[in-house]
Amino acid sequence: MAEIAEGGGGGGHNKGKKRAKKSSTRVDMTPMVDLAFLLLTFFVLTSTFSKPKVMSLVYPAKPEDIVPEEQPKINNAITFLLSEDKIFYYSGQYYPKNAPGPKGPTVLEETDFSAKGIRKLLADRNAYVLKGKEGLDKKLKSKQIQDSTYLRMLIDFKKDPDALKVLVKTDDKATCKNFIDLIDELKIAEIGVIAPVDILASELELVKEKVK
């Protein structure tokens, strides 16, 4: 350790000349280093670099503004009904018990948030868009198309009549985590049309029966 020479009472006239000169240039830096690393550790641990991320979602306009269509023609849609940590779904149009469709009233099916549950279901149902996206990805990689063209074509694919459309309804027990997780899965599956809508009273009853 370097030391600061202490003025030893005027001694060292004859012998200590050299030594006094040498030692006075060095300062003990250990405390400073300690402090520097302490501060460094503090800032490394406390600083957060990542800004929060956002997920955007477009809600349908209030029903007063649009022409009320009782059941809009949906030929390729799936409706998810969320309850507490549970997902139910049915495909196509909704047929209540008192007005059954060609295949009888709507029956809810259940799935879950795992990769084998909803992700597989959506991948199967939305295969048209996912396949289209795969083709576009290949073209983009081999530089056949530009970035902007890629984005435009992807949007076209998502808006195609053959692309899957999804309606999301929630009951009064679903948490925000359930909802965001579901939307997240839909985004993973490249669903273009996502509509969070209010649940019908008869649908709510169906969910309640299922949950019991």
């Binding site: 350790m1 370097a2 060095r26 830096m29 250990t30 400073m32 280093v33 520097a36 690393f37 501060l39 460094l40 800032f43 490394v44 406390t46 600083s47 957060t48 670099f49 990542s50 800004k51 929060p52 991320k53 956002v54 997920m55 955007s56 979602l57 477009v58 809600y59 349908p60 306009a61 209030k62 503004d65 969320l82 990769a115 992700r119 929630t170 009064d172 027990k173 679903a174 948490t175 925000c176 985590k177 359930n178 909802f179 965001i180 997780d181 939307i183 997240d184 985004k187 993973i188």
Partner: protein
């Protein structure tokens, strides 16, 4: 043969480069660190694969676990204008000091009538305060007014910063300066609570909403 002089190796090492490096890093982290202003509520946000970063000009509504609603806005100038409008509508007086304090405040969740007292509180007391959140039932829809006036104020301030960016010679996208509406919801909050707030937005014809989420790896 002369004796080989063993150099007197002193046990001290020259620490100067290490100190240099350490202080360089300290300086870097000090400048790069962004400190979050303390929020009155802890909110545990859900995760998603979205990698869109939060926009600049935001109107932020926080919904905590119990369904209480908090309001916040990013732009200080817009906040001043917003508070003036709100004070005018609800006939609540604010001192100049309170107004300037409000412009740098984080989220708040109290009624308009409680707001002057809330502003005067120290940050620690705000955390412990048991508020009911901003009311938004049909008879007393203060949240609607906050959002509505906030939207107008943020549009104005966004327009000013757009003009400024234009003056600098860039070709900015006007959409980047428009206020974005953001919801920060707790994992465990019931979606019904969020839905009520979303309906307030939808009443005002603001249908494009953003949810704040933490980052999650996308599946391959």
């Amino acid at each position: 043969m002369p004796k080989i002089k063993m150099p007197k190796s002193s046990p001290s090492i020259d620490m100067t480069p290490m100190v240099d490096l350490a202080f360089l890093l300290v300086t870097f982290f000090m400048l790069a660190a962004s400190f979050r202003s303390s929020e009155p509520v802890e909110v545990d946000v859900p995760s998603s694969i979205s990698d869109k970063i939060i926009p600049e000009n935001v109107v932020l509504v926080t919904i905590d676990r119990g369904g209480r609603v908090f309001f916040n806005m990013s732009d200080p100038e817009a906040r001043r204008e917003l508070l003036m409008n709100m004070a005018g509508k609800y006939k609540v007086g604010f001192s100049d000091e309170q107004i300037s304090k409000f412009t740098f405040m984080s989220s708040f969740g109290c009624t308009m009538q409680e707001l002057p007292a809330y502003i005067d509180m120290p940050a620690e007391a705000r955390k412990n305060l048991n508020t009911k959140g901003i009311p938004f039932d049909s008879t007393n829809n203060q949240l609607r007014d906050w959002i509505n006036f906030g939207n107008m104020a943020a549009l104005n301030s966004g327009r000013t910063s757009f003009e400024e960016a234009k003056m600098k010679g860039d070709s900015p996208d006007p959409n980047d300066f428009k206020p974005k509406f953001t919801l920060r919801v707790d994992n465990k909050a019931l979606y019904v609570h969020a839905q009520n707030v979303i309906n307030v937005f939808r009443d005002l014809d603001l249908n494009n909403l953003n949810f704040i989420t933490s980052m999650e790896m996308a599946p391959l």
